[in-house]
Symmetry: C2
């Protein structure tokens, strides 16, 4: 089934203790769509770039079978971000953000995108996210990402959006901010009451949780030997997650759990390279092998006492 | 099989956002032994208290079937600690530490303790830990806890100890400090090269990892609704872990994984009450039920792609 992502395509200059890249391919829609392309056959992108956007990046996305009919080339420069990570590989320090053509991004869906069964709203203004939702015809699952910037600055718009979507991706701090609850599980329940039926709580190097009204699934991160660049980890998680569901074409608790596994493993590859270097290079077999190993290193039988 | 714990028995004044307790029962040997008593039939304690130590605490430990032949009552006051936790329930702020009789603690094992099959060396001076090891006859598993204070101040003594034990419990920061490696898995391998065959890396609210030369097991923490007091979480984890192994009487990879589960679940109860309030009150059925639920919320089948 086809999967739509609406988000940013950017050029990122990133420095980490393992090296640096200059004006490399980045943005939420980029990481998401490449991650999803390992699972879903039809990935549709809505985003905007400037006239400076290199052809080689377009070619890379097309070579992954990603549909770019919704990628607008606008007069001006592409969204540019630069930042650096310290040795903890925690939140990066932003050095420069130039929204450029992304500042006036007003997502319009090509007609044939409107019937996408699975939809992911990247981390943009909640009003723009709502505008996308209104253009979609009978989707199976609509998921959104958000961040503290919107929780603090656009709460009403965000609450309106939450009433119309099925799933929210959010980190633990944002759950606390949005719910005004200190306990994560209490906060998650409050957020579920705002609309979404499914919550994915991202905990970075510590994994993630899937929370619904009746169910809970907790998964650690896949332990990797060498982090090179964490940029795009959340978006490649989301891409693996949604890509897997779109490939399966259905949503139930067991599929959702497997989607968390697919997302976690996809993100684990992404952080092993700068930009999308590793993410774009891996094969289905690489993913299969790591998912199998993931189960081996996490499974146990209940102790008898 | 019998299980020996050498550590502290203390009186703790603790304040958290959920309330406070004054001179409540605490100390590593206390949390460990009560946790272990839910699994192991014979738990032996070596520790020291002062003349002020309340009889009711002795009675509580005895009521759990814990052997106190190795508990010395010395002239002076019991080890006292007071601290408070903020709303993040991270590392507590220490308000007061009075070592009192614990300052000159020199563990001597009663003869019938020397044949304990399982031994846990609580977080004390590595030279004292080595002194205990030298008194033990052919144990099955000797495990130790340590902390950055000893890594920084008693590195030679600690390295000597590591050459004589089977297992080390340590947190992620301490692995980095001890190994001088930034990556956790690389650091863990270096620590394994110092002697222990098994490493347990504690990650607090994010769970734990079991690392050996050939194997890896990753487990999230058990998600709980309300943290009341995190004091003793690490020691009750260790007690549940070692108590389970002592109950089973053998050590292999599958038993070690189950021991991590037993430790995690035991610690999850401990933080739901001040001091040992909840830890001492739970039943085997409570533990069984939570272990079963833990498997349900973490298990998955490998996605087919």
């Amino acid at each position: 089934m086809s999967l739509l992502i609406v988000g940013s395509v950017a050029l990122d200059s990133v420095e980490t203790p393992k090296g640096k890249v200059d004006r490399a391919l980045g943005g939420s829609a980029t990481y998401f769509s490449i991650a999803a392309s390992h699972f879903a056959p039809h990935v549709n992108v809505v985003a905007v770039v400037g006239e400076d956007f290199p052809d080689e990046h377009i070619e890379l996305l097309l070579s992954r079978g990603i549909n770019l009919d919704g990628l607008t080339v606008s007069k001006g420069e592409t969204f540019f971000w630069s930042g650096c990570y310290d040795e903890s590989f925690g939140d990066p320090k932003t050095i420069d953000t130039r929204l450029n053509v992304f500042e006036t991004f007003a997502p319009e869906l090509p007609d044939h995108y409107c019937s996408s069964g699975f939809v992911f709203l990247g981390n943009i203004d909640p009003d723009l996210q709502s505008r996308v939702v209104s253009q979609i015809k009978s989707p199976i699952l609509v998921a959104a990402d958000t961040m503290n910037f919107w929780i603090e600055g656009k709460l009403e718009g965000l609450k309106k959006l939450l009433g119309t979507i099925d799933m929210l991706l959010i980190n633990a701090l944002e759950v606390r901010l949005l719910s005004q609850e200190k306990n994560l599980l209490d906060g998650a329940r409050k957020v579920l009451n705002m609309g979404p039926k499914i919550l994915i709580v991202k905990r970075g190097e510590f994994g993630s949780m899937l929370i619904t009204k009746d169910d809970l699934f907790v998964l650690p991160a896949y332990p990797i030997n060498e982090v090179i660049d964490p940029t795009g980890a959340g978006d490649s998680f989301a891409g693996g997650f949604m890509g897997y569901l779109a490939y399966r074409g259905k949503v139930d608790l067991e599929e959702l759990k497997r989607a968390v596994v697919a997302g976690t493993v996809t993100a684990s590859f992404n952080v092993e390279g700068f930009s999308v270097e590793k993410l774009a290079r891996i094969t289905k077999d690489d993913i299969r092998e790591r998912m199998k190993n993931f189960r081996e290193i996490t499974e146990f039988t209940v102790p008898e006492i």
